[in-house]
Amino acid sequence: MAGTSGSPAGNGAAGGAQTDTGGATAAGLAGPAGTGLRLQGVTRVFGETVAVSGVDLDLALHGRLAIVGPSGCGKSTLLGLICGLDEPNEGTITVIDTETAAGRLRRCAWMPQRDLLLPWRDVLGNAALALENQGMGRKQARDRVAHLVERFGLAGFEDRLPYQLSGGMRQRVSFLRTLVAGKEVLLLDEPFGALDSITRADLQQWLRSALDAEPRTTVLVTHDVEEAILIGERVVVMSARPGRIVAQFQVDLPHTGSRRELIRHPEFTELRDEILSLLEAAA
């Protein structure tokens, strides 16, 4: 079932030799040892519907995992389970060192498809939300996030309210807000799904480099196969209801190339076609 197809080494970085630790070393650095995420036999049932069934996953600290699957395959349910907003009916979920829902909630940040910014708060205020929740004063929290704004392409827009921003900018504010929470694990649920394709491509490229600059254990859920391969160091394919893991792929692509170069890369297209055909079979 869970076939692992390591692509033959092309002219890419030879990082993905080991499958278990994901692509922790893909950036060319010695990744920190330890578990980021471990799911064992996770099953979630809503009434009669089996949303997720017997999911096993392992992700090293700072590893990047992308989950693709047809709609209704329980991808979002899985993220809700991991971050402790929900509990599985069967199986265990370990986030770094904790299995309890409260502990997982403390360690995970969740970013849904819609930006869900607070319309009455400006860019800095939205970004600083988690810091204020953690007890920091309003002014201090704003100062703390102010220097991050530039890196997120939001310089000069600090005092704008969400309605004054473009969709891409709002999504970046949302991502900044998620990062500022300082969680070890990022759970991204189709973060660019609501954007137009140009903005989406731009943000995919941007997210890649943002995660390179500041590595986090990341799980990305998407129905966009290219996005999955671009962001994930490993891609997991899920089947439709009941959601279970059909296959896992290691992504070995040159780590520095631009999005456009990568997408033309023969390995990229090969992997994409393989995943797409799997998805068609699964749907």
Binding site: G80, L118, W120, F157, L165, D202
Partner: protein, 277 residues
């Protein structure tokens, strides 16, 4: 698109000064049809009262009402207006405080909701016109029964709208707050309360138009001054022009309160207006 720094062209919002000026012009243009209707009604009123032989005690002409209003301003109307305005404003504020506190309590606790919500609806079933004399018996000819009547009439739309607003927050946003270390209090304060503000203001606008009615009810039930008192004295004397003068002052007061609430809304939640255009 080759480097990280490249971003798609963003759409900065229009220059604020220009949009404000054109917004003012637009609101004047919006007000024109309503003003036109008012003028037509006034003309018909004048025509009927002057040329159709309608007696003054049935329909006094507008100019007569105006003259009566001016001549009895310093004698009766000024102090009556002051008394009624106090009742309206203080009663309204009482309603706001009680209603918002109640809404938060109802929102925060299921037990409180189950216990109080039926009573809340029941309170609206009580005919206030009937309650007012009883309150006058209990509290005498003081301002207290008037405040209670005004508050009773006003608080319901505020409570209901505020509760709706508090509950209107996107469930996903509440989940995001939990993953951003937001506890119950932080969520109430930073998300639910601001989110409820626009609907609270909807309730306030409705309440603002009710408040003068409540004050007049209260005064009808027993009072020594106020616009309601003036009216109840003037009606048996067939001083219809004085009654109309009092009615116009009350109407004006309701409109002023409504405008004050709307202005406050614009100041406190500028973000809420954008979606409505």
């Amino acid at each position: 698109m080759s480097t990280t720094a490249t971003r798609p062209p963003e759409t900065p919002s229009a220059a604020p000064a220009r949009s404000r000026r054109s917004a003012a012009a637009a609101s004047v243009r919006r007000a024109l049809p309503a003003a036109g209707i008012l003028v037509v009604i006034a003309l018909i009123w004048e025509a009927v009262s002057h040329w159709f032989g309608v007696p003054d005690y049935v329909l006094p002409s507008l100019d007569r009402i105006w003259r009566t209003g001016v001549s009895s301003w310093s004698g009766t109307l000024a102090s009556a207006t002051w008394v009624t305005t106090k009742e309206v404003v203080l009663g309204f504020l009482l309603a706001v405080v009680v209603a918002i506190a109640l809404a938060f309590a109802l929102h925060s606790s299921r037990t409180v909701r189950n216990a109080v919500y039926p009573l809340l609806i029941g309170s609206q079933a009580v005919p206030i016109v009937v309650i007012a004399p009883v309150l006058a018996i209990i509290f005498g000819y003081t301002i207290t029964p008037k405040l209670i009547v005004v508050a009773l009439i006003c608080f319901f739309p505020i409570v209901v709208n505020t509760i709706d607003g508090l509950a209107s927050v996107d469930p996903d946003l509440l989940k995001v707050m939990r993953t951003l270390d937001g506890n119950r209090w932080a969520t109430l304060r930073r998300v639910e309360a601001p989110a409820a503000l626009p609907s609270t203001f909807s309730g306030l606008r409705i309440a603002a138009t009710y408040a003068p009615i409540g004050a007049v009810f209260g005064e009808y039930a027993g009072s020594q001054n106020g616009l309601g008192y003036v009216m109840i004295q003037a009606i048996p004397q067939l001083e219809t022009d004085l009654v109309f003068a009092a009615i116009f002052i009350l109407t004006f007061e309701a409109i002023l309160l409504f405008i004050a609430v709307s202005v406050l809304e614009r100041i406190t939640c500028p973000w809420a207006r954008e979606g409505k255009r």
